[in-house]
C-alpha cells in the first residue's frame, strides 16, 4: 500500500531522476578511469619495447666496438679503429637514452648502474688493449689474455643486458596482468549499473507515459467539458465565474460577457467593471450582498437588474458557493443567469394573480352585497304584504286574496334563494378563523337550529361521538345544518326520518375515494338517511350551484345548500361525497383532515 503510494507520488519520479543521474556519473567516471588505464598500459608496452630495443642496440654497439678492436688488433689496420671510435659515441648516446627511459624505475636504474660499470670496464679494457697494441705491440700471449678478459667483460655486459630486458618484460607482464584484472571487472559493474539505470528509467518512462495518457484523457475530457459547459452557458443563458478569496482575483466565463452584450473577455475580470452594468438602483443592493458575505459563507441567490451594453434591461440572478481546492485555497464559484423571462413571467403572473384575486374579491363582495342588500327591499315587501293581509284582507276580492297568497309564496321563495345565496357567499369569504372546537357542540347547535323541523317531522337523529377539531366553527355548523336539513327535506312521506351520523378516524391510504398521495389522517363523518335518495349518476351533480334534482313544486329548494357544503368542506381542505339509492336513502361522506 505504501509502496504503491510511493510509486504514484511525484517523489518517485524525482528520486528515479536523481538515481539515474548518479548512475550515469558513476558509469562515465568508471569509463574514464578505464580508458585512462588503457592508455597507460599502451605507454608501458611501448616503453618496455623502447628500453629493450635500446638495450639491444647498446649491446650491438658494444659488439661493433669489440669487432673493430679485434680487427685492428689482428690487422693493425687503423681502418678497423673507425667503427670502434664510432661505436664508442653511439654507446654513450644509447646508454643515455636507456638511462632516460628508466629514470623512474629504481630496479632498472640499479641494473643500469651495474651495466654502466661493466660497459666502462669493457671500454677501459678495449682502450687499454688498443693502447698496448699501439705502443709496444702485443705478443700473442698477452693478447690472448687480454682478449679473454675482454670476452668475460663482454659476457657480463650481455648477461646484465639480458637481465634488464627480462626485468623489463616481467614488469610489463605484471602490469598487463593488473590491467587485465581491472578490465575484466569493470564491464560487469558498468553493465549491472547500466541495467539498473535502464530498469529505473523504463519504470519511470512507463509511469510518465501512463501519466501522460491520463493527462491526455483528462485533457480531452476537460476540453469536451469546457465546450459543453460553454455551450450550456450559452443555451441556458447563464455564465459562471470564480473568485479566489485569498487573492481576491475574479475569473469570468465568456458567456458572462455575452450576457452583458459584450465581446468575451472584453473587459477586466472583476467586480468593479461588472458593476458598471448593474442597474444604478440595484448597485447598493448588489454590493451590500457581496460585502455582507462572510469569508466561509456561500453567496445567497439574489436577483438584480442589469443594463446591457445595448441599453437593454435584463434581470440577473447570481448565486455562489465556497469550494476549497487541492491547494487549500478558498474559491467562490458562482453562476450568474439571465432570469429576465422568468422574472417577467412571474411578474405578469403576479399581476394576473392580483387582478384575479381582486376580481374574485370583488365578485365575493358583489355577491355578498347583492344578496345582503336584496334582503332589505324583500323584507319590506314581505312586511307590507303581511300588513296588507292582516289589515285589509277582508276588504279584498277573492282574486285579490288569491294574488296576495301568490305574492306571498313567491316572495317566500325569493327570501330562501337570497338567504341561501348569502350563505354561499359567506362560505366563499376570505376571512377564515379556525378554532379548536368540539364537533359535538357544533352538531348540537345545528340540531337547535333545525329543532322546529326535526320536531315537525318527528325525525330521529342518532350520532356517534365526534372529535374536537380545528375548524371554522360557523361553517362546520352550517355544514351539519345543511346536511341534516337536506335529509329532513327529502324524507319519505309517512316514514319517520332516521339520520345516522357516524365518525371514524381513517388514513388517506385506506379510503378509495380520496387521493392516495397524502398519508394524512382524516376524520370520516357520514350522514346516512332513509329518505327518498337519488340516482347514483347525479352524485356529483348535486354539489353544483343551482343544480336541482327535483321540481321546485315538489320540494322547496334553491340548489345552493349542497354547493355550500362542498364549499365549506373545501375551505377545510377536505372532501365530500354523496351516495344515493332511489327510495332507500342517501349517504353523505365528509373527510376532514385531522390536523386541519
Amino acid at each position: 500500500m505504501k509502496l504503491n503510494a510511493f510509486y504514484k507520488s511525484p517523489i518517485f519520479l524525482k528520486s528515479v531522476f536523481v538515481v539515474s543521474i548518479f548512475a550515469i556519473f558513476f558509469i562515465s567516471a568508471v569509463t574514464f578511469k578505464h580508458i585512462n588505464l588503457l592508455n597507460k598500459s599502451a605507454t608501458w608496452v611501448n616503453h618496455s619495447y623502447d628500453v629493450n630495443l635500446e638495450l639491444e642496440r647498446l649491446f650491438s654497439y658494444l659488439k661493433d666496438s669489440e669487432t673493430g678492436q679485434r680487427g685492428f688488433l689482428i690487422t693493425k689496420d687503423s681502418t678497423f679503429l673507425e667503427p670502434y671510435i664510432q661505436a664508442k659515441e653511439k654507446i654513450d648516446r644509447s646508454f643515455s637514452i636507456v638511462k632516460n627511459y628508466t629514470k623512474n624505475d629504481p630496479a632498472q636504474e640499479n641494473n643500469l648502474r651495474k651495466l654502466q660499470l661493466y660497459i666502462n670496464k669493457r671500454q677501459n679494457y678495449l682502450s687499454l688493449t688498443l693502447h698496448l697494441s699501439l705502443k709496444k705491440g702485443l705478443n700473442d700471449k698477452e693478447l690472448k689474455e687480454k682478449l679473454l678478459v675482454g670476452k668475460y667483460t663482454m659476457d657480463s655486459v650481455r648477461s646484465q643486458i639480458n637481465t634488464m630486458i627480462l626485468l623489463e618484460k616481467e614488469t610489463l607482464k605484471s602490469r598487463e596482468l593488473s590491467y587485465n584484472d581491472t578490465i575484466k571487472v569493470t564491464p560487469i559493474f558498468i553493465y549491472i549499473t547500466l541495467l539498473i539505470t535502464l530498469v529505473l528509467i523504463s519504470v519511470s518512462y512507463i509511469r510518465i507515459n501512463r501519466d501522460l495518457e491520463k493527462l491526455q484523457v483528462s485533457n480531452n475530457r476537460l476540453t469536451v467539458l469546457n465546450e459543453s459547459s460553454n455551450l450550456a452557458e450559452i443555451v441556458g443563458n447563464f455564465g459562471s465565474w470564480q473568485l479566489n478569496i485569498d487573492t481576491d482575483q475574479y475569473t469570468f466565463s465568456d458567456n458572462i460577457y455575452r450576457l452583458l452584450g459584450c465581446e468575451p473577455q472584453s473587459f477586466k475580470n472583476g467586480q468593479d467593471d461588472f458593476l458598471k452594468y448593474v442597474h444604478a438602483e440595484d448597485r447598493t443592493y448588489f454590493e451590500g450582498i457581496n460585502s455582507k458575505r462572510l469569508e466561509k459563507e456561500n453567496l445567497p441567490s439574489f436577483t438584480y437588474r442589469i443594463i446591457r451594453k445595448d441599453k437593454q434591461l435584463r434581470y440577473f440572478r447570481t448565486t455562489g458557493r465556497i469550494v476549497t481546492n487541492r491547494s487549500g485555497q478558498n474559491i467562490l464559484i458562482g453562476t450568474t443567469s439571465d432570469v429576465t423571462d422568468e422574472v417577467l413571467a412571474s411578474l405578469s403572473l403576479e399581476q394576473q394573480n392580483i387582478e384575479l384575486e381582486a376580481s374574485n374579491k370583488e365578485l365575493v363582495a358583489f355577491n355578498y352585497v347583492a344578496s345582503h342588500d336584496l334582503q332589505e327591499p324583500l323584507r319590506k315587501i314581505q312586511t307590507f304584504i303581511s300588513r296588507l293581509s292582516d289589515k285589509e284582507y277582508d276588504s279584498l276580492s277573492d282574486s285579490g286574496k288569491e294574488y296576495i297568497t301568490r305574492i306571498h309564496s313567491s316572495v317566500d321563495r325569493m327570501r330562501i334563494l337570497i338567504d341561501d345565496l348569502l350563505q354561499y357567499s359567506r362560505a366563499n369569504k376570505t376571512e377564515k378563523v379556525f378554532e379548536k372546537v368540539s364537533l359535538d357542540t357544533l352538531l348540537e347547535n345545528a340540531k337547535f337550529d333545525l329543532a322546529q323541523s326535526i320536531e315537525e317531522k318527528g325525525a330521529m337523529i342518532q350520532s356517534e361521538a365526534l372529535p374536537k377539531m380545528t375548524v371554522i366553527p360557523f361553517q362546520i355548523q352550517q355544514l351539519f345544518i345543511n346536511l341534516i336539513g337536506n335529509s329532513l327535506k327529502y324524507s319519505k312521506e309517512k316514514v319517520t326520518p332516521k339520520i345516522k351520523i357516524s365518525c371514524k378516524k381513517v388514513t388517506a391510504l385506506e379510503e378509495d375515494l380520496i387521493p392516495k398521495n397524502t398519508k394524512d389522517k382524516f376524520y370520516k363523518i357520514t350522514f346516512e338517511d332513509n329518505g327518498i335518495g337519488f340516482e347514483q349518476e347525479y352524485a356529483e351533480k348535486i354539489f353544483i350551484l343551482f343544480n336541482r334534482l327535483h321540481n321546485k313544486n315538489e320540494y322547496a329548494g334553491t340548489g345552493i345548500g349542497l354547493a355550500i357544503c362542498k364549499k365549506i368542506v373545501e375551505n377545510h381542505k377536505g372532501y365530500i361525497f354523496a351516495e344515493g339509492k332511489p327510495n332507500e336513502g342517501s349517504k353523505f361522506t365528509i373527510y376532514l383532515s385531522e390536523d386541519c
Binding site: 319590506k380 312586511t383 304584504i385 292582516d390 327570501r415 359567506r426 378563523v433
Partner: protein
C-alpha cells in the same frame, strides 16, 4: 317608583323600517314612548346632551350612513353614563360571526329584522318584556344576552 312608561329609541336610516317600528309599538299594549333617529350621528348628538332622557332600550341598525351601529355601540360602551341602557342591534344581517361580534362588543340583544309585521310585534314585545324583567328583578345585566 316605577316609571310610567318605557322609553325606547331607534336609530335607523330606513324610513319604512322606522314606520314599521313605531306602528308595531303603537299596536302593542305596552306603555312605551318611542323616539327615532335617522342615523348614528343624530342619535349620538341626542344622547350626549346632558339633559337627555336616556332610553331603557336602544335599537341600533347596523348599516347606517355617517356613523354606523357598531360605531355607536362602541361609543356608548365607552361612556359610563349609558351603563343602564339595554342595547339591541336591529339589523337585516344574520351572519353568525357578525352576531357574536356585536355581543362581544357589548350589545345585549340582537334582532334580525323580521319579514312580517306580526313577528316584528312579537319580537319587540319580547325585548321590552325581558328587559323589563331585568330591570325589575335585579338581574345581572352583564349576563343579558338575547338573540331573536
Amino acid at each position: 317608583m316605577v316609571k310610567e312608561y318605557i322609553h325606547i329609541i331607534l336609530a335607523d336610516d330606513d324610513e319604512d323600517d322606522r314606520l314599521f317600528f313605531t306602528d308595531a309599538f303603537d299596536e302593542l299594549k305596552i306603555n312605551t314612548k318611542v323616539n327615532t333617529f335617522n342615523d348614528g350621528v343624530e342619535l349620538m348628538n341626542y344622547l350626549n346632551q346632558p339633559e337627555a332622557i336616556l332610553p331603557n332600550v336602544l335599537f341600533l341598525d347596523l348599516n347606517m350612513p355617517r356613523k354606523n351601529g357598531i360605531e355607536c355601540l362602541d361609543e356608548i360602551k365607552k361612556n359610563d353614563r349609558f351603563n343602564d341602557i339595554a342595547i339591541a342591534i336591529f339589523s337585516t344581517s344574520s351572519s353568525e360571526e357578525h352576531i357574536e361580534e356585536t355581543f362581544v362588543r357589548g350589545a345585549n340583544i340582537y334582532i334580525k329584522k323580521p319579514s312580517d309585521f306580526a313577528t316584528l310585534k312579537k319580537v319587540l314585545s319580547d325585548v321590552v318584556t325581558i328587559n323589563w324583567q331585568y330591570y325589575t328583578s335585579g338581574l345581572n345585566k352583564d349576563n343579558f344576552l338575547l338573540r331573536l
